[in-house]
């Protein structure tokens, strides 16, 4: 029942929100609804943690062999929880922001949540595609109607880009469907194809699907929509985009790529990993020289996601689990980073790193949170990201599926130097030193951001000290994904 609630609560409240005229009520209602979703997510993690509640299936388009099959498994739990946490966090931290046509804005936000939840729980390829598109449409309106001056152009590009990927994915899904023995879109039928379809066909399918995911993540060289969109879009949308939506790509690789086209994933693993590793270094180097805070965060995100992508194709259990918890960690950390950026811009009116300085004296709490979130972003031990990165690097290093695992690890791990360079330089330039005209009038953050940032910091520290609490969720799942996508024996047996 829980996955249905995940979809229904935001969907219904989202549709209802379109009729709200008053901004305050719309805001409150959206927050209320997102808190209920969070409560459901938490209860799904704790006392309703039983397949009876976590699974649901109902006939839907049965003439096409598709059904409304949803299930919250370990990875789904993590990502639904991330989605459920980030929404109230976004609403509370941007409580003061004003929007014209607030009802529409919040309505679209909630629809977006419904789409995201759907993607994470769908156990049917057609349903997955349906929600994948559902998650794309609201974001188009959100960022093209509320945001910076060049928002329409940036959004248009994002839309075309992701839509192209989606269409190719649809073609691949339909082809896969036609190959299933029982003509069904169900995930089991798709998984059974992984080792059946010949490698050459799989290669085509692989690239058609991977392109969609790679654009979403984004992996170098498909990343250029991201900095522009982050820069132009309004902050809540950007937060949703970077905290949750980019995880869709990573998530989809796990659920719909590795086990479905296993042979091709293995064959093309080196190519994809190379792209990802190049992307890590590339984005890190750009982030070092970036002056705009929003673009800075965008490039840092590209680097982090690149590491996840590289790890996925290393096909090791340690790596898988590392990526799964890192998806959550990265979402939390980047949310914190965005709130900090939003506060800086709100207080000073600028996002140029070179124009800022000395904020630590004016806004000590903000500086403290910024430092903690920044350190979490550079994966300092005892913050959440460390365990994830450690496991991911370890995963790449111990990978059997590539001969270049040492090179990949060494190159990817250079990012731990580069990330500390850009994060610390940003902190130094923005917060330390003497204040100037721009930062002189800045004030410290208000209770709402403080509350959200404190929660984020608690999560950061908690998962840094006791990551096993989350690793337990993903253990069996990563084992099974590995088992169903492991083709080395198959190939060497031939």
């Amino acid at each position: 029942m829980i996955p249905v609630l995940f979809i229904l609560i935001p969907l219904i409240s989202g549709l209802a929100l379109f009729f709200f005229k008053n901004e305050k009520t719309a805001k409150s209602f959206a927050l209320f609804s997102s808190l209920i979703t969070l409560a459901v997510a938490v209860s799904g993690l704790t006392f309703l943690n039983d397949n009876k509640f976590l699974q649901y299936s109902h006939g839907w388009l049965s003439f096409l062999g598709s059904s409304f099959a949803v299930k919250v498994d370990g990875m789904g739990q993590i990502l639904c929880l991330l989605t459920a946490i980030s929404y109230p966090a976004i609403f509370i931290s941007t409580w003061k922001n004003e929007y014209h046509k607030a009802g529409n804005f919040f309505g679209l936000m909630m629809l977006e949540q419904a789409g995201l939840m759907g993607v994470f729980v769908a156990m049917d390829a057609l349903l997955f595609y349906f929600f994948w598109e559902l998650a794309l449409v609201p974001i188009y309106f959100l960022s093209s109607m509320w945001g910076g001056e060049k928002r329409v152009r940036a959004t248009f590009r994002f839309f075309i880009y992701t839509f192209l990927g989606s269409v190719l994915m649809l073609v691949a899904i339909i082809y896969l469907f036609s190959q299933t023995k029982d003509h069904s879109f169900s995930i089991e039928s798709f998984y059974s194809l992984g080792k059946v379809i010949p490698g050459k066909t799989q290669s085509w399918l692989f690239w058609m699907m991977f392109l969609a995911f790679a654009i979403k993540m984004p992996v170098f060289p498909f990343h250029t929509w991201q900095p522009d969109l982050y820069e132009q879009s309004n902050t809540p949308t950007t937060m949703v985009l970077s905290a949750v939506i980019v995880k869709m790509g990573v998530f989809a690789c796990f659920r719909w790529l590795l086990p479905v086209v296993s042979i091709a994933s293995f064959q093309w693993g080196d190519v994809v990993t190379s792209l990802a590793v190049i992307g890590i270094l590339y984005a890190s180097l750009i982030a070092i020289r970036q002056d705009d805070l929003k673009r800075f965060v965008a490039y840092s995100s590209i680097a982090h996601i690149g590491l996840m992508c590289a790890t996925i194709f290393s096909e090791t259990e340690i790596g898988f689990q590392g990526v799964m918890i890192q998806m959550f960690n990265h979402g939390i950390n980047i949310l914190g980073l965005w709130i900090v950026v939003e506060m800086i811009e709100g207080q000073t009116g600028t996002r140029k790193i070179s124009e800022l300085g000395g904020l630590a004296q004016k806004a000590p709490s903000l500086a403290l949170f910024a430092v903690i979130v920044g350190l979490a972003n550079l994966a300092l031990p005892l913050t959440n990201a460390f365990i994830g990165e450690f496991m991911m690097f370890n995963g790449i290093f111990s990978s059997d599926s590539t001969r270049y695992h040492i090179v990949f690890t060494a190159l990817a791990a250079i990012s731990i130097i580069l990330v500390s360079v850009y994060i610390l330089n940003m902190i130094r330039k923005v917060f330390y030193g003497d204040d100037n005209q721009i930062t002189r009038e800045a004030k410290d953050i208000k209770w709402n951001s403080k509350l959200v940032l404190s929660v984020i910091v608690i999560i950061i520290i908690w998962l840094g000290i006791y990551p096993d609490s989350m690793l337990n969720l993903t253990r069996s799942l990563s084992e099974s994904i590995l088992k169903s996508s492991d083709v080395i024996h198959l190939l060497s047996g031939k």
Binding site: R157, T224, Q361, F393, S398, A413, E479
Partner: protein, 628 residues
């Protein structure tokens, strides 16, 4: 022994509590309360450490497991502490010296506002916590937690006065340099894990002999590279002198007495691997010696009192690495300990000088301080004698042990090491004479301000001075007293003692006398040269040394600047034009194509018909040929 295991977690936990209380309530607590919390937590850890120390004396070694930090696939990393002779010795050094420095800081930092005072002590406590984590960890991951934790604290404390841009730059530099080392450390961990399937010390070391020698060499080299960052060796030493931007007690605690020993501890801990890798051992020894001499030459020409001490730290660490590389682990650890004593002493005394001079650090503007700062002067002398290796001060015994093992190993190494030791004596006494002798060269205002620090400061100095004097007696060589080398005996369960080609007792005594005489000669030379201050413009090699061999500039020009230019290129040119250009290019191509194809729609019916006919013909033809 069982009760040790039950409460050993308190040792790092107490400073953590101190950190949390001081960090969270720094605005509410009064300064004295902050100081009391910070000091008592460390003191309590110290008391516990003594107790643990007494428990492990008989050679006991225990691992206390608490919970699973990571368990994924074959990777199982428990949160576990290892208590044995080596770690308990380090526990004593860290908490003991840490406590003294906490006490010293209570007066040194008195002028800070309450909030910053709380911030300072919470950082200090966090540092002690991280360092304890580092030495107590029973696997490489826990060690790594502490390893980066100390780097973090170092970053926070160097940049403590964050208003000053230069200071925060130095903080960044320290952290980033350490991260370079961390990269190597991490790679070593992955390598170890992929070869042995575990990161726990006991498993790794027991499987060590089964590994390929090439694997061992790579692992140990990577670990060593990690250690060069933390323990300030070539090529990653340049952060340490810059780290002097932090408050002086911090320099004493982190950048002299404890954190820089992390790399040494790690290598000693991994002794089981290093003794299997002769190539790495040579690299370690040579790097150590080169660093020792390089840093000593730079120290000759520095004018900042803390910079001289910083380079002397780098140089002494070089000696310790030389010892490690020669397999003389006990000698290395011995020097770690005595160095912690006298370097903490020297830094705190320097802090006392800086405190008295109202923040002045340039020794060219000091001089003649011995009258006003009696206790500081005397303790500083003790420190200088100890570091120079004058018998019977502590430094003599530890440095002699290193020199002796160098002599046993290779005569060239010995000569170079001896040369370095003489340089040490020269620059330390130059510092002493310039600071305390001659006439005062500062402003009148500073002169009136000169005063000895409060009792907490002087008392700390006195305690450290006594330790610096007597600390060597736990490792008296066999020549003087049979069974005098208590330290080796204590450490022998963890670190086996190898002596190859041991020299006879008479040679040993001759060497000692030779060293001592030469050092005294050098001190006299320094006395003659620096008794009276003369202003000289440095030229040639002097200028070269004053500018630290231009290593910073070299790094900037060879690594930092090209990389940032490359980053600019990627950001402004490549990302915009190439990647984005390709994407937009595809869009433009589609646009252009459709504009061309649009022209076919001319509105001429005949045109359409013609097209239709032609296409039909084409289809016929194609089909015709396909049939064939």
């Amino acid at each position: 022994m069982q009760n040790v295991l039950q409460i050993v977690w308190l040792i790092p936990f107490l400073p953590l509590i101190g950190f949390l209380i001081n960090g969270l309530f720094r605005k509410q607590l009064s300064k004295s309360l902050i100081a009391i919390i910070a000091c008592t937590t460390v003191l309590a850890s110290f008391v516990l450490s003594i107790w643990v120390f007494l428990q492990v004396k008989g050679g006991n070694s225990h691992v206390a497991e608490y919970f699973n930090l990571i368990s994924a696939g074959s990777l199982k990393v428990p949160f576990a502490f290892q208590i044995d002779a080596l770690s308990s010795l380090f526990l004593l050094i860290i908490t003991g010296i840490g406590f003294i420095i906490h006490v010293y800081s209570t007066s040194y930092m008195k002028e800070e506002t309450r909030e910053h005072y709380g911030r300072y002590f919470s950082y200090l406590n966090l540092f002690v916590f991280s360092m304890l984590l580092l030495v107590m960890g029973a696997n490489y991951v826990i060690m790594y937690l502490g390893w980066e934790g100390v780097a973090l604290c170092s970053y926070l404390l160097i940049g403590y006065w964050f208003k000053n841009t230069e200071f925060s730059k130095a903080a960044n530099k320290a952290f980033i340099m350490n991260r370079i080392g961390d990269l190597a450390f991490l790679l070593a961990l992955f390598w170890i894990f992929s070869k042995t399937g575990s990161l726990n010390f006991d498993v790794v070391f027991s499987k060590g002999p089964l590994l390929d020698s090439s694997d061992i060499t790579i692992i140990t080299l990577l670990l060593f590279f990690g250690a060069t960052a933390k323990s300030a060796q070539i090529p990653l030493y340049t952060w340490l002198p810059d780290a002097m931007a932090g408050p002086t007690p911090v320099s004493a605690l982190i950048h002299a007495a404890t954190m820089v020993n992390a790399g040494i501890y790690m290598i000693t801990r991994s002794e089981a691997l290093y003794s299997l890798a002769p190539v790495t051992q040579n690299v370690v020894a040579i790097t150590g010696l080169a660093t020792a001499i390089l840093a000593a030459t730079i120290a000759l020409k520095q004018n900042d009192i803390k910079k001289v001490l910083a380079y002397s730290t780098v140089s002494q660490l070089g000696y310790i690495f030389l010892a490690l590389g020669l397999g003389a682990y006990t000698a290395g650890i011995f020097h770690v300990m005595t160095h912690a004593f006298f370097k903490a002493l020297l830094f705190l005394a320097a802090g006392s000088v800086i405190h008295a001079m109202g923040g002045e650090q340039d020794i060219r503007k000091m001089g003649g301080l011995k009258g006003k700062l009696k206790i500081t002067y005397i303790t500083f002398v003790v420190g200088c004698l100890a570091i120079s290796g004058i018998p019977p001060f502590s430094g003599f015994f530890s440095k002699d042990a290193i020199l002796l093992s160098a002599f046993e190993h290779n005569k060239v190494l010995y000569v170079l090491a001896l040369f370095g030791a003489l340089l040490t004596a020269y620059y330390m006494f130059r510092l002493l004479f310039l600071t305390f002798n001659g006439s005062f060269r500062g402003t009148q205002e500073q002169k009136d301000h000169l005063h000895e620090g409060p009792a907490t400061m002087t008392l700390s100095l006195i305690v450290l001075a006594i330790l610096s004097f007597a600390g060597g007696f736990i490792g008296i060589p066999e020549v003087f007293a049979t069974g005098g080398d208590k330290l080796s005996e204590f450490l022998s369960p963890v670190v086996p003692v190898f002596r190859e080609g041991a020299v006879s007792h008479s040679t040993e005594i001759i060497l000692m006398v030779l060293t001592a005489v030469l050092v005294i000669v050098v001190i006299v030379m320094a006395w003659l040269r620096f008794r009276k201050y003369q202003q000289v413009e440095e030229k040639g090699i002097g200028k070269f040394l004053e500018n630290k061999w231009y290593v910073d500039e070299l790094y900037d020009n060879v690594i930092v600047n090209p990389l940032s230019r490359f980053g600019d290129f990627l950001k402004n040119v490549f990302d915009r034009s190439v990647v984005d250009g390709l994407v937009n290019g595809v869009g433009r191509l589609v646009n252009y194509g459709s504009r061309q194809i649009r022209l076919l729609q001319s509105g001429q019916v005949t045109g359409y018909v013609l097209l239709m006919v032609l296409s039909m013909l084409l289809i016929f033809v194609v089909q015709f040929f396909l049939r064939k």
